[in-house]
Subunit: 374 residues, 2 copies
């Protein structure tokens, strides 16, 4: 087999009904279904090149290689990717090693998990380069094996990951396209610190909380409420269920053994402000992943105002904003660095700022410059 | 019946396994059992005087009267006390009105609920003045009717409120006397603001959280762990279960409908600091009631150091410290203002400070001056 290469991109996503805990950690079969929105403009681009199959007596020479954001990765990071690539090798019936080169267009300090977009892009690129022609459901299942939430970065827009009964039916589907409801996610970054406990370890602790079973048992009700709120574009209903679900995940985290506290004082300040802003009529709600940063969801038309409000809150180091993003996409572009990002909706604007005061105008300027919908 | 008067005192208490939610709101039968420690030196003193029975055609003239901290109370506050006194009237077979004069020796801004000590002292004084000779269990049951946690301020030291099967067996008993384990509660007061949602309303919301049933179902396990930790004076085990239980109550609060957030940013800062102090070897753990203030439990020998640490934390307005208190006690002292506080362990020291910086020495001085165990 000659060298085969493919490049793919996939957006990050933010969950409104959260994934926390697996019923099968190896297969990453989740304890409950989840619902998310892709983050337009915030994506990982990954190129996978399968080397010609060489058989040597020394298998250690046949390692995959991995470069992320121009840095060679070895150790646990490479090992996780190789385990993932083993699944692709098994599906394609090949034994080649792969070269993986990956870049995120959002900084690691952005308060946005990169494993979802990274494994979604890797699933797309690795399978395409290996000659596999997978359906969206098969791609979503494959991405799930690398990182659970990655399965939600395969379809576009608003996405639901069905918990399923096993590997075969545990994948994500789009429940509404990006244009269905122009929402935006304004991420208030309150800390650049690397999170103390990674998601993979965290998922394993979920079952040690006396509350996890109740959270999981109640998930179908929340999924139903969230899906209906999205389909009917009912922001008030959406806000209530998204905040409840975020609180439920963090309460399980805080009551696991050992307890995981991701909230910082500034996190709590912003949560309270968001509830007050909503009470005064602004369509905003918060959702928080396994970290201290606050994702403030709003209508796209209010994103400038919300980003400005957040930028002036104490403890906020940076605000990013993204609109609803599209599906992951693969491209056979082995030799170029240029990638079209059509699928990820480049107009899902990306705005960032540093500093703590007087930055609102800078945010607004960048938002206007990059936002195609303005 | 001639005028009969009695004065009683009862300590405040702090729960380690929390009471949150009733299975019968009228009888204040709790959803789960709880464990607490009395706070020595922080008490309510209440005098009840039953007027001679007069029958008039106008029943409105026969209202009870209530004075708390020298302020006449009417409206909902008086109504709650009158409803409680109705139960005493029923038990004693009298129809007299009562004059109730009550004082807390801790400020309302102390971050310590006064309803427990208040209804415990009222139960003691009202029943004694009415000529009832109640057992400790009967007194605890009676106090429970006024405020659930008040039933725990009747027995001394470390106390367990058995959820029971009904009114008859839902009362508190001492599981260890004050001298069993010299602990102290250092209360970091971060806000003087009146709490947004009172406990009675909060209890009614508990069942709206999808997590309350799981919290309640797991309570026997936590009660067992906490009781064992206290009986064996195992601080590490005690710290783990007390913090878990506090987190569990707040997670139920945060996920009820509407959600109740009692934590403030400073609350979270102190919680984190306490975990770090414990990790570095200091015997400390936190527990938080329906408010933003943090009760930091430590060994009495470390209380000075812990109070000083807390006083220098950002956002801390005041620190109080109390050692383990004794049982509530009644005294027939109708005509004097002097009360012996032996039963409440006056040596359970009371130290307070105002301001935000450089107050450690003041705390230490007061602690030494008032602490009989130094």
């Amino acid at each position: 087999m000659p060298d085969r290469s493919a490049t793919a991109i996939a957006c990050a996503n933010i969950a409104f009904i959260k994934y926390w805990g697996n019923r099968d950690a190896r297969l990453r079969l989740p304890s409950n279904g989840s619902i998310s929105m892709n983050l337009g403009g915030l994506f990982t681009r990954t190129r996978v090149t399968w080397a010609e199959l060489r058989v040597t007596s020394n298998e250690s020479q046949e390692q995959d290689s991995l470069v992320i954001n121009n840095k060679p990765i070895t150790g646990a990071g490479l090992s996780r990717v190789s385990t993932f690539l083993d699944e692709v090798r098994r599906m394609a019936g090949i034994k080649s090693r792969a070269e993986v080169v990956s870049e995120n267009n959002f900084p690691s300090s952005a308060g946005i998990a990169s494993s979802a977009s990274a494994f979604a892009a890797l699933a797309l690129a690795a399978s395409a380069a290996a000659g596999l022609e997978l359906s969206q459901a098969e791609l979503s299942r494959l991405a799930r094996r690398g990182s659970g939430s990655a399965c939600r970065s395969i379809p576009g827009g608003f996405v639901e990951w069905q918990a399923g009964t096993g590997d075969a039916d545990s994948y994500a589907v789009s429940i509404a396209p990006p244009e269905h409801w122009p929402l935006a996610d304004c991420v208030a970054v309150v800390s650049h610190a690397h999170k103390a406990t990674g998601s993979t370890e965290g998922h394993a602790l979920a079952a040690t909380s006396p509350l996890q079973a109740a959270r999981v048992a109640d998930a179908p009700r929340r999924l139903d409420l969230c899906r209906r709120a999205i389909l009917s574009r009912d922001f008030e209903a959406f806000a209530g269920i998204a905040e409840l679900d975020s609180n439920l995940m963090h309460t399980v985290m805080m009551t696991s053994n050992p307890p995981l506290f991701y909230w910082q004082p500034a996190t709590l300040t912003i949560m309270q402000a968001v509830r007050e802003w909503r009470a005064s009529g602004l369509p905003v709600c918060y959702t928080i992943d396994a970290g201290p940063n606050v994702h403030v969801i709003t209508e796209a038309a209010e994103a400038e105002r919300v980003a400005a409000l957040l930028a002036n809150m104490p403890g906020v180091q940076k605000v990013l904003a993204a609109q609803v993003g599209g599906a992951g996409a693969v491209q056979f572009l082995p030799s170029t660095k240029r990638v079209t990002v059509q699928a990820c909706h480049p107009e899902g604007a990306f705005c960032a700022t540093e500093g703590s005061q007087g930055q609102s105008e800078e945010i607004l300027r960048r938002w206007k410059n990059t936002s195609g919908s303005e």
